[in-house]
Amino acid sequence: MSTFPISIPRPTNPTGVWNWITTIDHKKIGIMYGITAFILFISGGIEATLMRIQLAGPELDIVSAAIYNQLFTMHGTTMIFLAIMPLGAAFFNFLIPLQIGARDVAFPRLNAFSYWTFLAGALMLKLSWIGGATDAGWFGYAPLTSIDQNPGTGIDFWIISLQILGIASLAAAFNFIVTIINLRAPGMTWMRLPLFTWMSFITAILLVLAFPIITVALIELTLDRYFAFNFFSVANGGSVVLWQHLFWVFGHPEVYILILPAMGIVSEVLPVFSKKPLFGYATVVLAGAIIAFMGWMVWSHHMFTVGLGPVANSVFTITTMLIAVPTGIKVFNWIGTIWGGSIKLNTPMLFSLGFIAMFLIGGLSGVMHAVSAHDAQQQDTYFVPAHIHYVLFGGAIMAIMSGIYYWFPKYSGKMFNEREGKLHFWLMIIGQNLTFFPMHFVGLDGMPRRIYTYAEGMGWDLWNGISTLGVFILIAGFLVMINNLGRHWRNGPIAPADPWDARTLEWSIPSPPPEYNFKEIPIVKALDDWWITKQENPEKVASIDEGSVGYSDGNHGIHMPQASYWPLVVSVGILIAAYGVVFNNFIMPWFLAGIGLIISFIGVYSWSLEPVNDPDESSSH
């Protein structure tokens, strides 16, 4: 029973929809994150496809200017906040407790809250297509976002959705920081942490420090729009460049938030399929930390053409060039990992190798941007989306694909079809290069970005056409993937605990892991402890699968945290309040917002007074 102010019994469904809705199990939450994010990724892909069809030739009329501008704004916002970040969160959720030898995260209910709040933000943003979505670009420069320029609700939905997503991200970040610091198994020192967990930890710290800044920027914009404040009001002396500074001080660390988990995944996959440890583990960790630190000092490279002056531009040129160094270190260390190894070119490995190849290109075009004198020509042309998509699509997404295949046996308990996996890889890498490499060309050929059409005779037709063609190859690849993983999750061959002969703790437990993860919390003696254990005691592998029937196997007397309704209640309250802010004159001024806030308040109160476990409850369901 939870107590004051509302007493309701706690949820006890062992299986079924309600079990998933009220779950606080990190593995289930991770799966929900992953599936939701993947669906949202597809929606962002549809937005991109429509854009590319419109741009396949000059002066086409497939979509109107107004729709196109909404498409590119929603595509960017979706991919960053609703696809890559939550896909990362899916991995954090599923893997971190397994990798550090814990039974769950530090705050299981907070974890569920993160997911439901993320879903609320996602719904709010995607549903804004109805009635006109935001169309001011994913970085929403003032004064295009002002109430004069943009009186509709599209911008308001964008603002509020981002705030909600911020809450979800912050909650998750706090959770993982405490989990990684405090719940490591005995012997799991910092320098024995799996690389993925390390990168996740650094990412979480970046989130905690960076998000509040965009929160402030969005609050200021909201006050301008709703109450005629003057933050970005040119007529009253406000500076629109202030928005850019605030946004990019958040925005640049944000791109490292996007890429560090991906780098973490690659750092896990490469050693396993080279049968060698990660080359220079400590260096790779340090490089990640340095990237995160230096990421705070480069933000104005997004503003090289705004008129900050040559002195400021010079400073940011230097800092931006320097951040290439730790990034390069990682690439070299990855190559050092596979060098001299016994490489197995299966699907996860192909994607991780593809990551290196594509990210290298994106990194080099990034250095070209850093050459700020020429960036005056590159900025706001297609050269920038070329760079972005090489690091985020050929980079982050490819790494995430690697992770999705690599950990598939662990979270689904089944094996996928290897041939189809390879097909997906080849379609993706060919599609990626066909779609995005030509963007370098048209960008340097003078084609600005964010234009819904272009004139005939500019010479951009051929490469735009090829770029659009590439999109369909990418689509084919994703269809192959969905078919492969969808079929096999249901009916694939049963996966053993450690199909890849891997190195980290999550492979020492059944596939999928039981609710309590580890029957006995392991004592860690070294980095890659599982690998070393196997070398010394090969028979350990065979004994893992005894007694595993999947997630709902029951607790076997191990004390697990109980499910709860309150995280969901608070998320629902936030969603209602958010709609109440946008529709603030519904029935009465601020009526809906008030209701939502009250519901959240009750939820928070009840949650804080609810014990982690009821004192009289027995530990198995």
């Binding site: 004064p143 008129g307 060039m321 290196i356 042309t381 003078g446 600005p448």
Partner: protein, 369 residues
């Protein structure tokens, strides 16, 4: 077991050939907004630093991708039971590949910063009279020469501006609404036009020509339709153009034009569009482009409609067609444009222009050479 070297060779050759074809196909100096065809010192300096980084990046690319692909081929296909040597790192190697990139980057930074300062301020010999003011509007460019030569009045025009060949032009950038960006790729990199700040830049055209420009900061619905031309001509021709722009509008006696002049007022056009005139004081509107010499412009609607066949001299047939198209349905040419959104003849169905009124207007505007 390593793969046969022959396969690596063939693979490498294919990649290299593709790379070279790709590389060469990227540069199209003849394209109107190509950044590979600098026609002035600023664009040239900026391109030069780019060649350096492009070469550097290509070398790094070939090296690193090469080692990556090589190691994939060399170290795959081994037996399942083979456990390679468990190497944990190599300090010497790691220090090398930390310091080397850092040094290369510092080397590149120096000429980069040099070029930044070069491009930021006009040379000392730039003349006051060659100061150009560019004001961004949604979605057109207003050009002004505030002091074109001593004791002359300010020149105002839109979307097309002449500059003298061989002289540095100081440019002051403003915006009346949102952030735009002034970009003529063949003359210089872009600088943003920020409503709350004034920015400045400079460029110079080394040769006569028509240089295409386009707004390069997303500024709303018709950002894609905000284009302009910088036309560089020898100095005498430039002076002639200035004088011409300074002169009042031609007062045509053609009856259709005269009728059109009345429609221009009665339909409310003069509320936003300025036409200098010696007979009447002329319109004082400044919200829309100045139309005093609109019939001499090579394009209409900010670079969207071409008043000639393939960029030749202005042809009245094309001009009239474009004017008619634009006045009849501006929204179809420039979605979101302010004229469609605010002018009574478009917002109020009672005041919609008749075909005859449109013809009269076209006649009038065509006379404004």
């Amino acid at each position: 077991m390593t793969k046969t070297p022959k396969r690596i060779k063939i693979f490498g050759q294919i990649v290299l050939s593709i790379g070279m074809i790709l590389g060469l196909s990227a540069c199209y100096p003849s394209h109107s907004q190509s950044t590979f065809d600098p026609n002035g010192p600023v664009a040239a300096a900026q391109l030069e630093i780019f060649w350096w980084i492009l070469i550097g990046a290509s070398i790094v690319f070939v090296l690193v991708e090469g080692i990556l692909i090589y190691s994939i081929f060399k170290f795959s296909g081994k037996s399942e039971t083979y456990i390679p040597k468990q190497v944990h790192g190599n300090h010497k190697l790691e220090i090398t590949w930390t310091l080397l990139p850092a040094i290369i980057l510092v080397i590149i930074a120096i000429p980069t910063i040099d070029t930044l300062f070069y491009a930021a301020s006009p040379p000392k010999h730039a003349l006051e009279q060659h100061t150009l003011e560019v004001i961004g509007h949604q979605w057109w460019f207003e050009f002004r020469y505030p002091n074109p030569y001593e004791n002359t009045k300010e020149i105002v025009t839109a979307n097309e501006v002449y500059i003298p060949v061989g002289y540095p032009i100081s440019i002051n950038l403003e915006s009346v609404d949102v952030i735009h960006s002034f970009w003529v790729p063949k003359l210089a990199g872009k600088v943003d036009m920020v409503p709350s700040e004034g920015n400045s830049m400079w460029f110079q055209a080394n040769e006569p020509g028509e240089y295409f420009g386009q707004c390069a900061e997303y500024c709303g619905t018709s950002h894609a339709n905000m284009r302009f031309k910088v036309i560089a001509v020898p100095e005498p021709e430039y002076v002639a153009w200035l004088q011409y722009q300074a002169s009042s509008a031609i007062e045509s006696t053609d009856p259709l034009a005269l009728e059109g002049k009345n429609v221009f007022k009665s339909a409310g056009c003069s509320g936003c569009h300025s036409i200098n005139s010696t007979i009447n004081k002329g319109s004082v509107g400044r919200i829309g482009p100045n139309l005093t010499h609109v019939a001499s412009r090579r394009h209409l609607a900010a670079g969207v409609l071409m008043n000639s066949k393939n960029g030749g001299p202005v042809n009245d047939f094309y001009l009239q067609n474009n004017l008619r198209e634009w006045i009849s349905d501006p929204e179809s040419i420039k979605p979101g444009n302010i004229m469609s959104a605010q002018a009574a003849v478009y917002t109020n169905s009672d005041r919609k222009l008749t075909e005859h009124e449109i013809s009269a207007l076209v006649g009038y505007l065509t006379s404004l050479k």
